[in-house]
Symmetry: C2
């Protein structure tokens, strides 16, 4: 199975991207990786880790799209950038099943939509985010921030795409869908969310569980949280604020609590790290971009080798599950 | 100074409401409290704590509005409820400066708007929430969830009201205002938030600091976070989810980490509790409802005596600061 990796996207590129790819081929005999970017630099990284196998190939692309570039302009203008070259190959080569990039979110989304194109029937591809709930189950949020001004019909499609994706990830037959709102009662919500609620209720193939609140996102009650890109982005970053705030206060408690608190922390440290690593996004890969014709995973900008590897595995699993074919069938039929 | 307390709003009413009021008059010689609700039950509670002073009076109201009541209907139909009687008195009696209620949020908001009325020039009163940032400063979020379908002009007014309120609370001359969006750059946002951005930029009296993201809410960079009621509610509850998630994982680490982790926790416990109490909303009072003609504080539904007392103190401080007069001047002048 051939997967293409944008070797020059992300804060730790190309080192992490190359190392993650090497891990991927070393641990998965059926994988071939194409690394796209500055050939000399990629070769240097491969030499550093002593890789001399034949399941990693390099395609030279001298340019890089950064977070400072305007996505639509950069995709058109920077034809020699690692991202654009990777997308062009992904589009043209049937054998390449998907791409991983840790580059600019906007550029990856715009590029994938423009170059790879939407699946037939899909109104708007969607950025997803995978979180771990309190009970350890995985929760998908769609839209994580791709389309800030959405139409109600987009969200119904997000629910469908999220449902298919989570069926593949969890093995559940009918993943539970929650609509993000300001209260759990059916009548709670904005004019927009109420319209979405009515549309979702009519979708008999979906396991729609009604409205959920921000505080329910990590409770594990639903598998998919559907919302518009603005609220989804606010929710994800506010969760981050909440976790960061609690950890900040834990650190303060250790710092200001005298010798007793410091001793306490020493005892607790190992177990705390173990628990936290269970919910570290770096172990889970990136954010699948759903609704385009090929598999695209946007890895976190600060990805290390581990998260690049996890993102490659995500593409592999989605391919084995037949995600794109399953989605095609649903959208060709319904829309 | 006379403040009226809805003795029958909230999960712990009337006990917490009565006890909080007793603390308020005991610790503040200039305060008089009017408790509204079932007279016999209030008397019993007062006897329990041995209060026999003359700065607490009781006004009988046999009925109660619950969270199951539809706010608009309940405010009109339940004329003998503690909330409606309290609001009628607050409206009619010039000597009563404000009200505290821990009852149904919807009923308090609807009731205050209908009975007390908006300040001249105010398009829409707003529910605020006060959080503590990582550096210990207080952050006001407006709107915390009163109006889920807002107009851009509402948010400009929220910014003005929030600015005046935070000037009073923090003593800062020009509190910093951030607009909640999906990125910090000026051009980031939804069509709606971009319109608000342009309007806020034109308000030369406001210290507008531009867009902030969900993850910045608790960072302490701004004093006021402006947003619509839908996103504000999502942000607040997602922060709650994030904090809850981190605390859940801390508990898991203690539970599953063996004897070492448990010993560690024992050492750390005291310091952790102290740090957490600094950010416990119960010590800070409730959510001021801004833009109506009198001072209204919505205490948390699960308020204990401490938080009822803190909410009473909030009304007192807002009165001493002359909040309503200051707001009147700004809105009469500008709108």
């Amino acid at each position: 199975m051939k997967i293409i990796v944008d070797a020059f996207g992300g804060d730790n590129a190309p080192e992490s991207n190359v190392r993650g790819s090497v891990t991927a081929v070393n641990l998965n005999e059926d994988l071939e990786i194409i690394l796209v970017g500055d050939e000399t630099k990629i070769k240097t990284e491969l030499e550093k880790v002593g890789y001399d196998g034949d399941r990693i190939s390099i395609v030279h692309a001298p340019d890089v799209i950064t977070n400072d570039d305007v996505p639509t302009t950069a995709i058109r203008a920077k034809k020699e950038s690692s991202l654009v070259v990777a997308l062009d190959m992904l589009k043209g080569d049937e054998e390449i099943v998907g791409m991983v990039s840790a580059g600019s979110t906007g550029a990856v989304l715009t590029g994938a939509t423009l170059k790879i194109g939407r699946l037939e029937g899909v109104l708007r591809p969607v950025m997803s985010a995978i979180l771990t709930s309190e009970n350890g189950s995985e929760v998908l949020i769609v839209d994580a921030g791709a389309t800030v001004d959405a139409k109600p019909e987009f969200l119904v499609q997000y629910a469908k795409m999220g449902s298919i994706f989570m069926a593949g990830l969890t093995g559940k037959d009918k993943p539970k869908i929650g609509l993000l709102s300001v209260g759990t009662e059916d009548h709670k919500g904005s004019e927009f969310s109420k319209l979405v609620f009515e549309l979702l209720k009519q979708e008999k193939d979906l396991n729609f569980a009604g409205n959920i609140e921000g505080r329910d996102i990590l409770a594990g009650g639903v598998d998919v949280v559907v919302t518009d890109g603005f609220s989804g982005n606010v929710a994800l970053k506010s969760i981050e604020a909440g976790v960061g705030f609690a950890m900040h206060n834990l650190k303060e408690a250790i710092k200001t609590g005298g010798i007793g608190a410091k001793i306490g922390y020493l005892f607790l440290k190992k177990s705390l790290k173990k628990t936290m690593s269970k919910v570290d996004y770096r172990n889970y890969g990136g954010a699948p971009f759903l609704g385009v014709k090929k598999l695209v995973v946007k890895a976190h900008g600060s990805s290390n080798a581990k998260s690049i590897y996890a993102s490659i595995l995500q593409v592999k699993r989605m391919q084995e599950f037949g995600l794109t074919e399953k989605m095609s069938k649903v959208f060709e039929k319904n829309d």
